[in-house]
Structure formats: C-alpha cells, structure tokens
Amino acid sequence: MSAGRLVRAAAAGGVAGLVLRRLGQGALVMLAAGALAFAISELAGDPVAAMVGLDASPERRAEARIALGLDRPALLRFLDWAGAALGGDLGLSWRLRIPVAEALAQRLPATAELVVVSALFAIPAGLAAGTWAGLRPGSAGSRGAAAASLLGVSVPTFVIGLALIQVFAVELRWLPASGRAGTVELGGWRSSLLTAQGWASILLPALTLALFQLPAILRLARAETAEALAAEHIRFARARGLPERVALRHALRSAAPPVIAATATNLGALVAFSVITETVFQWPGTGLFFLQSVEAVDAPAMAGCLVLAAAIFVAVNLVADLAHLALDPRLRG
C-alpha cells in the first residue's frame, strides 16, 4: 500500500481504527478464500461415486449422500468445513491419502527456508543499489539501474532458474539442479541450513527467487529516495548549508518506511512465486505440493493450499502495515 493512502487511512480513523479495519479486511479475505476453497472441494469430484462406485443404484447413492451429510444445506456444510479448517483439519488428500494439514506441515520448512534465504540475498542488494541510484538521479548508473530493472521484470522466474541451472549445474557442475539434499531434522523442522550439502542445494533456487524480487525492491528504493530528496525540508536543509550527510540522513529517514513495508508485503508474493521456483528445482516445499495437487486435481489439497496461502498473505500484510505504522511517525496521530 502506498504511503499516501496509509496516511489518509490513519488520519480517518486513528491508529486503532486502522488496525481494526485491517483485521476486518483480513477476516474478509480469509472468508472469501475459505468459501472458494470450500467451493473447490465441493465442485471438483463426486465423493458419492468415490464411496459406492459409479454404477450403484439410486437408493445406495441416496443413502451415501445422507451418510456423508450431503443432503444438508450448503451453508451448514460450509460452516462444518470452516470449523474443521479452523481446528487444523483440512481433510484427506486424494492423491497422497494423508491429511492435507500434515502434508503441508511436512513441506512448510522447505518453503520457509527458501523464502528467507532469498530475501537475505535480495533485500540488502536491492536497497543498496536502489538508494545509490536514487541519490544520483540522471547519472549513468541510475539510468543503468532503471534499464536493468526493466530487463528484470521482463525475464520470467522460470527462465532465470533454467539459465542458472544451465550455467551452474550443466556447464560448471558446481551445484545440484534439483532436490533438497543434506537436510538435518531439528525438533520436527527439516533444515537445509546446517550442512554444506544443504546450502549447495538451496543456493540456486534461493538465487532465482532473489533475482525475481530484486527489480521491484530496487525500483521502489530508487523512487522513494529520489522523492525524499526532492522534499521541501531537504531543499531547505541544503539551502541552509547543512552538511550533505545531515540532509541525507533526513531524506533516508522518510524514504525507509514505505520501502520496508513494501518489501515485507513482497514476502507474501514470494510464497506464490515459490510455486514456480520450486517446480523448476523440484524443491519439496508447499509450492511444489500445490502444483502437484492442481495437476492431479486433488481438490482437498488445492483447498488446503489456498487457505494456507491466504493466511500467510493476511498475516504478512498485517505485519507490514504495523511495521510501517511503527516506523513512520506521520501515521501516528
């Protein structure tokens, strides 16, 4: 969300109002995602046929419908489904024949580590390059950064991944092209970050995901820095003859919060793009699971992934707004 909109929203209802509205919006997103997930599990597939067979008599089918509770109104079934989902019961995966929640829990550490490691690559690099370019508007380096970010948004994530595989796995044979070898189990959390082999396998996928997010961070940091430098109080500070580094400090102070908030929000999008990265590198996380579920038309698993993704987005957006609020004194009235 842009700084301007957040300022206006905060001014309209105060900080508490803003947080409440955000929570309400989050609940709405979860409700919509839940309804869609329920619709998927209702529409995709015929549990009656799965239970009694396609050639069963109408009486058998009617009995099965009642046994499964399918004769009850859709709203009641949705409430049942939502209640179970809130309790962590997302049903059985048709493909794996294990609870969806369990399948997701097994795969979440792989995705979480991938996203975090990629962010550790991309955020410092993007902030440094973007701020550097923003401080020198019109310079060759700044124009170069703009051109590079245009190229960056034009290269699809999977092409980045394939190019890295071609160079580092096929030609140089330095790093593995797929899988997640060298994991260590630590209290139910399978981690790649404790062995050299684990780092070798996470490096290429994390780099791919990092290169995906870099242009956005760079562009934003560049634009916000340039905008902050053009502000009245910076021009005043310079006109007054204050040392350049003082002006700079004031400029970065107002450029930082929106960049940090947007970067945090971006972490949510990373979960979506990890679907692509995980598929390219056969990384056994939630993204690959989602894709395999879509391919196999595994409705309960698709529904479960959707609920998990929506929950992550809501949580990340909320944290990003709160961080923005904490960092930007203009928002606290």
Binding site: Q25, L28, V29, A32, A33, L36, I40, L43, A44, G45, G134, P137, G138, S142, R143, A147, L150, L151, V153, S154, V155, P156, T157, F158, V159, L162, A163, I165, Q166, V170, A177, A223, A226, E227, G268, A269, A272, F273, V275, I276, T279, V280, F290, L291, S293, V294, E295, V297, A299, M302, L306, A309, A310, F313, V314, N317
Partner: protein, 289 residues
C-alpha cells in the same frame, strides 16, 4: 523517448511481427506430420557441430524445425495474452463503471471483492482458476479447451486492477457537466454510460492494458511451463521451454534457450512500450527521475 526504450521496443516489435505472421514467415509448418522426419530429431543449431541447413536454430525431439515451432508458439503466446488482457479489460471496465455509476452497496461489494482478490498475486489466482477449470471439465475436453481455459484464468486474475481504474475514472467523468446535461435531456442511463462516460474511461484503461499485456504474456508462458497451459500438441513458448528443459542435461541446450530468448525479447519490448506510453499519459511521473 529515451534511446534505451527505442531499442527495447524495436527488439520486441520485429519478433512479434514475425510471430504474428508465422504461417507466412516460418520455414516449415511444424504441425504438418508429412514435413517432419525423425531423422532430423535433436539437430543442433546450423553453426554448431552436426547442425545443418535449413534448420538454422536446430530441431526438437520430433524433428520439428525449432525456429518455425518458436514462431508458431510465440504467435499462440501473443494471442492468448491479447485475449486474456481483453477479457480482463472488458470485465474490469464493466464492473468498474457499474460500481462507479451505481454507488451505494453494489459499489462497496464489488470493490471489496476486487480488493480481496488483489491481496493474492495474479499468478496464484491464474493457477487456481486453471486448476478449477481442469477439475470441472470432463477429462476428454481438457486438452481441447486448455488454451481458452488459460486465457480465461489470466483474464480473471487481471480484472480487479482494471475495475479499480475504471471506477475511479468513471466517478470523475460522471460528475462532468456534459453528463449532467445529458441526464437533463432525458437520455437513458445506459446511453449516458456508453456515449458520455466510457470515452473518458477508455484512455486510462488502455494505458493499464499496455502495462498488463506483457505480464499476461509472462503468465501464459509460466502456466504453460508448469504444464497447465497450452498442451504439447499445440505448444506455446512456455510449453516449448518446458520440453526443452527436459533436454538440458543431455547437452541439448538450444531447445530451451531460443524460445526463452524470444519470450524475453517479446516481454521486454512490450514492457518498454508500456513504460513509454505510461510516461506520455502521465507527464508528472516521467519528470520524476
């Protein structure tokens, strides 16, 4: 216009034209089984060891000329991207103008819906809609309808952005004097919307369409790469790259590399054109470094 942009647009325009006119430009018809020979399978590019004319960029596993297959694939990618963007634009414009003109609870519900969908990244929505369409279609029709389903999925992932722009523009246009005058003369509401509000909404919508078109092309390629979009029988660029990626470890780099390069050139050209268009539409932004 900046020289970098000119270069980028030129880089994308030529391949785009070649793709659109593929049936007349391509050296071979890759869908004509009579023209294919398995003896030509997996030929490297003509300049490499073992390559030969007329297969300038090499061939794939079925002996199809890669350049021809790429041009046809690029054509499919461009057409799907155009159809998806048109669908998103049409749906978004309809929802946005209706919401902006109606106001009240309908406006609130429609815009809240758009906001909720915007929380999720477009590609996730597109994968999901695509998966849902596959689940609902009978297995026999899945391959036949895979391409329309892809366009539908991308279009449905796009509409909220169009709806928001359309609503904002419609709200401004609806307060203009000529709209009030039209109302006083007793024109019916739909005519006012169509003749007097829509023209003012069209410009920002078309600018947004230019921005979203390359994203739609990338979304199409991504879906096809993931195996959800165009089927191998009528490959798009994404399908070709997926098939090529299976050959990378066999040393046959060209099957994935050339379609990838074409895809990036097309996306870069479209992105550069959109950037130039946006700068023109909004002189305020272009003045900012």
């Amino acid at each position: 216009m900046r020289p970098v942009l000119v270069l980028a647009v030129a880089l994308g325009l030529l391949p785009a034209l070649a793709c659109l006119f593929a049936p007349w430009v391509a050296p071979q018809d890759p869908f004509d089984p009579a023209a294919l020979s398995l003896r030509d399978a997996f030929l490297p590019p003509a300049w490499a060891e073992g390559g030969r004319a007329p297969f300038w960029l090499g061939t794939d596993g079925q002996g199809r000329d890669l350049l021809s297959t790429m041009l046809y694939g690029g054509r499919l990618s461009i057409l799907v991207a155009l159809a998806a963007t048109a669908l998103g634009l049409g749906l978004g414009a309809l929802v946005g103008v209706v919401a902006g003109a109606a106001g009240g609870w309908l406006d609130a519900v429609l815009m809240r819906l758009a906001e909720v969908q915007l929380t999720l990244p477009g590609i996730l929505v597109a994968i999901l809609v695509n998966g849902l369409a596959r689940a609902l279609l009978p297995p026999g029709a899945r391959e036949a309808l895979a391409i329309p389903a892809t366009a539908l999925a991308i279009g449905l992932s796009d509409w909220p952005q169009f709806a928001r722009v359309a609503r904002a523009a419609a709200a401004v246009e609806a307060r203009r004097d000529f709209v009030a005058a039209a109302r006083i003369t007793g024109l019916p509401g739909w005519r006012i919307l169509l003749r007097h509000v829509l023209p003012g909404v069209a410009r920002p919508l078309l600018t947004l369409a230019a921005v979203l078109l390359p994203l739609a092309a990338i979304a199409e390629a991504t879906l096809s790469f993931l195996g959800l979009g165009a089927p191998p029988s009528t490959p798009s660029l994404g399908t070709l790259i997926r098939l090529g990626s299976e050959q990378m470890f066999a040393g046959r780099w060209w099957i994935a590399a050339f379609p990838s390069a074409l895809l990036v050139a097309l996306a870069l050209g479209a992105n550069a054109a959109a950037e130039a268009l946006r700068a023109r539409a909004d002189p305020h932004r272009s003045a900012r470094p």
